[in-house]
């Protein structure tokens, strides 16, 4: 699983951090989402999927 975040589209709502706190965080200076790991383990799959669905700006892309 490879995750990319479109930083331009991200609106800093923080939904991904709630859904998958071990994978996503927010930058301190502008709240934009950042990855804590680019290759999360399989156990994070469901949480990452939820993060992508919850994102109000559809800024998270997942590739197998």
């Amino acid at each position: 699983m490879r995750i990319t975040i479109d930083e331009e589209t991200c609106i800093g709502a923080g939904q991904c951090v709630l859904a998958a706190p071990e994978v996503f965080d927010q930058r301190e200076d502008d709240g934009v989402a950042v990855l804590l790991t680019e290759t999360p383990g399989k156990d994070q799959r469901a949480a990452v999927d939820e993060a992508a669905v919850r994102c109000p700006a559809l800024a998270i892309r997942l590739e197998q």
């Binding site: 800093g12 923080g14 709630l18 301190e28 709240g31 109000p56």
Partner: protein, 403 residues
């Protein structure tokens, strides 16, 4: 309860069902495609009533927020007027992103969680005071209104000595009983106060939102003007005060009317987060939905929404969509409906949602446990609801308990 679709935008709730959205949405959701209805303010608008319609279109950059929020029902400005400087809810595209980017750092999950201790102390001290005084009390005046207001004061960096003045103005500002003149006076007084506060923060920056916002603006390509700072501050105040206050009052009433759900929540602290999301979904207090304007032709399903037409994203209706939330008209504190629409969707999704979550989670963790036998002090039928306000809630909530 029958649900019929007429040609008029739904604004009336069924008698005896104060927690359900206005009558008519179920029929709209069942219909194929979009329905165009006439709205009280004299405009016709396509109503996005299903969960998917709301999500699909609120994320479409061809829709403008210039008419936000509920001008199709509660008219407070000319529909196609330019957004006032600093009015983040009315702006689109880069003008909106500029303000949003300057603010988001202040509302991150981490920063809001750091406020949790302050929020919990505030709640405990208000509960101490209520318990010492004894019932009956109006939970709205004594608890639901002051807590979010004081949290905003803390965030903005309003000095303690000024908080009472600030609070009394903000209560008038969001009151449904205040006359237009009273509301205007409150806006003028608050604007004047905030202008002074901004000047003070410019001269002597402190560790608060306003100081950091000024600094972040100054470091950007286009510093924030005084008018922008005042409008942003008042927007944060209204958005953060009224909504949370209404959620505290209305959730408490809805839980008191569903005692087994209240007991489930009270007996299992691990359900607090789920219960907050469920009450946000179930109550969806932005009661008329979000008004949007098509800036160009948009093909959606079999329809063409023409440039210049209006749309309303009915958040409350999408949140009762059975295809997404089975048994949607029932409260289930275990449901954890993480993808609900109560905070909106798209680029304008509520910037203060993580703050609202912390406030509501702390209230849900404490209020019902500190006062386990909380009950209404008047018959349910006597509770008055804010039927004509943008954010739905109870006017007052007289409660009592056994000492």
């Amino acid at each position: 309860m029958t649900d019929t679709t007429t040609g008029v935008f739904p604004t009336t709730r069924a008698e005896g069902c104060p927690f359900d959205p206005a009558v008519g949405y179920a029929g709209l959701r069942a219909a194929d495609g979009l329905t165009k209805l006439s709205c009280p303010a004299g405009v016709d608008a396509y109503v996005l009533s299903s969960y998917d319609q709301v999500r699909d279109l609120l994320n479409d950059p061809r829709l403008s927020s210039r008419g936000a929020v509920s001008n199709h029902v509660v008219v407070d400005r000319e529909l196609t007027a330019d957004a006032p400087p600093g009015s983040i809810i009315h702006l689109d595209g880069p003008a909106h992103s500029r303000l949003r980017r300057l603010l988001t750092a202040e509302f991150t999950v981490k920063r809001m969680r750091a406020l949790r201790e302050y929020v919990s102390e505030l709640i405990e001290s208000h509960l101490d005071e209520m318990l010492a005084k004894g019932g009956p009390v109006d939970l709205v005046q004594g608890f639901a209104l002051p807590i979010p207001s004081l949290v905003i004061c803390e965030l903005l960096g309003v000095p303690y000595a000024d908080r009472e003045r600030f609070q009394s103005h903000s209560v008038i500002l969001i009151s449904t009983d205040a006359t237009t003149e009273q509301a205007q006076t409150a806006v003028d007084d608050l604007s004047e106060y905030i202008a002074g506060l901004v000047t003070a923060k410019m001269q002597q920056p402190a560790d608060d939102l306003l100081s950091r916002l000024i600094q972040r603006g100054n470091e950007s390509e286009q510093p924030l003007s005084m008018q922008e700072l005042i409008t942003l501050s008042i927007s944060l105040l209204i958005a953060g005060h009224e909504t949370t206050a209404n959620m505290i009052g209305l959730s408490t009433l809805a839980l008191l009317r569903n005692p087994e759900q209240l007991a489930t929540l009270r007996d299992d602290p691990s359900l607090v987060e789920s219960a907050v999301e469920e009450m946000l979904r179930y109550l969806s207090i932005v009661q008329y939905g979000l008004l949007r304007y098509a800036t160009e032709d948009i093909e959606y399903g079999d329809e063409t929404i023409k440039a210049g037409e209006w749309l309303v994203a009915a958040l409350a209706s999408g949140n009762r969509d059975e295809s997404v939330f089975p048994d949607a008209d029932t409260i289930d504190v275990r449901r954890n409906p993480a993808t609900h629409l109560a905070f909106g969707y798209g680029a304008h999704q509520c910037i203060g949602q993580q703050l609202a979550r912390v406030e509501l989670q702390e209230v849900f963790s404490r209020l019902y446990r500190r006062i386990p036998n909380l009950r209404l002090a008047v018959p349910f039928e006597e509770i008055r609801f804010k039927h004509n306000a943008l954010a739905y809630g109870v006017e007052a909530l007289p409660v009592t308990w056994d000492a």
